[in-house]
Amino acid sequence: MFEKVLMANRAEIAVRVIKGCQEMGIKTVAVYSDVDKKAPHVRMADESVALGDPTPSESYLNIKKIIDAAIEKGADAIHPGYGFLAENPDFAKSCEAVGIKFIGPSADVIAKMGNKIEAKKIMEKAKVPVIPGYHGSKQDIETLIKESKKIGFPILVKATSGGGGKGMKVVRREEDLRDSIEGAKREALSAFGDDSVFIERYLDQPRHIEFQILADELGNVIHLNERECSIQRRHQKIIEETPSPMMSEELRDEMGGTAVRAAEAVGYQNAGTVEFMVDASNNYYFLEMNTRLQVEHPITEAITGIDLVKWQLKIASGQELNILQEDVKPHGHAIECRIYAEDPTNGFLPCTGTINKIELPEGPNVRNDTGIDEGMTISPYYDPMLGKLIVKGEDRKDSIEKMLWALSRYAVLGIKNNVPFLKEIIDHEAFKRGDITTHFIDIHFKDWTDIKEQLPVDALIALAVYDSMHPKRDEVVKYKESDPHSPWKSAGKWRIGV
């Protein structure tokens, strides 16, 4: 096993991985940019190295600085977390070059799966179903129009180098084809410096379902069941659950087997995730493979009892995966909510500010993965995720109840966040029925607002009590202090908080 692992990340995932290492007796090194000097991941780690300038390219995306830190501290492995350098083949290669183990698959696998077109070709060859489409290199409009017609409508035009929603268009009618393709190409060019697009059949009422994979370096591959990740806003997941309410035992076996085949097809090693799109008739198609730990990995841990981070470490250090597929016997149901500093009433725009007060829900089968503290400032430099709230229940109903309870006790004051929004989704009848697609939020929460008609009288009472306990009316105080002739000086009846 490794002696010392450097965590090339920040916030909750750095904290989570550091804990896993510490349990196994592995020393940990944190890296941090200037704004993270006092962050929990730095506090947790045994040692830490400053990266300087908070700009990602100068800190958590800076391969040289991070490799240098690992060498300086004598780390024998690096865990990349997710985001930042986690899926950067150059980073994996750089680690290898200096004899430091990169905890994840090989640079080659990362590169292959990072190129969506190549990934699909590999999957097609391995008989993994992919969405019908055109991924060719001929990028002239006429070819693209011709290919689109072959696939049949609706179709999706998407930037080859893309991510998120940029350079992505849905086309439902032939007459809109040309405009949409040209538009997607323009967007792709300006966003990614590359105007190539691919075209795919667009799925109506799609679900996003993914399978967790564990593969050791000896060729053993298993899956740890699915995660249902259809609840998304701006094409990003905010609520995940397992098992999926749409999943049957048969379909799980079939899709799980396909996921394992997909991983085997690329010679995958370590933890990874095969993402599928599933349509209303339960046809499923390979979407992409994430060659790293997922944000939502805790729900899989909750129901399988398997610690994915520890297995990442064990596998990377050459241990055999001694869990057989038939040993994977999940129980219960788990949900994760991602708590973001964002404004659901304003296009989910990230919010910055200082966390004034935190009260997290604690209880049986409630897990908080966070990397925040009271007094901490959420800066615009990084992802505005404040933390993840994970619950596990005996069944889906129980776990929904627990999540509602936990969200109703999740207080992050001082910065706008999506807790009230998450609560209303979980409490929504359609969600409770399991009637969810990736369009769920667009359909049910189009013009959502959390402002009530009326401030509840109990809040007013609380404010009044609080303000008479802590009188703090700026102007008054300033006036008293600064002006010797202040009328307050002689105001005998003046009293606050008597």
Partner: protein, 165 residues
């Protein structure tokens, strides 16, 4: 003590009198007699005749947050002078009206006096609390509507000021 909060575009006014752990709170002609303790920093436990309120209150420079029944309510406290705290107030909110009904206890300026933004103009007392009217603009005092000792009603103009351009 008079307090004003803004929430969802409306202004809420509350009056509170404290005696130890007891608070007499008046809002919209309803009087609530409550006992309250702060069990932990910002965590209030408030007993009413018919229910208990448990909540967390926290404040930043600009807002106050109440975490109540699982929901965060963000309100903006309004200054004693009738203006919002923290943020610069909009011009239309700058006025010279009395924020309360009470007695004028001091008039700090004379008619035709030159004043600067922030100067104290008048002090009004109500419920053993005093409220300051400050100059919202640079200008000249044109007319003082109330003199010391007089009663003024909430919303009445305390004086008129000729703004400087």
């Amino acid at each position: 003590m008079f307090l004003k909060y803004e929430y969802g575009g409306s202004i809420y006014k509350v009056e509170v009198e404290r005696e130890g752990e007891k608070y007499y709170i008046t809002h919209d002609d309803n009087m609530y007699t409550v006992t309250a303790v702060e069990v932990d920093k910002g965590f209030l436990q408030i007993d009413l005749a018919d229910r208990e309120i448990k909540c967390v209150v926290s404040d930043t420079d600009e807002s106050k947050y109440v975490f109540l029944n699982g929901e965060v309510l963000e309100v903006v406290p309004i200054e004693l002078t009738g203006r919002k705290m923290g943020k610069d107030s909009d011009d239309e909110e700058k006025d010279l009206r009395s924020p309360i009904s009470g007695k004028v206890v001091k008039v700090e300026i004379d008619e035709e006096e030159q004043i600067k933004t922030g100067d104290v103009l008048m002090v009004i007392e109500a419920m053993k609390m005093e409220y300051i009217i400050k100059a919202p603009w640079d200008g000249t005092v044109e007319k003082i509507n109330y003199s010391e000792g007089e009663q003024i009603e909430i919303g009445e103009e305390t004086m008129e000021i000729r703004k400087e351009d």
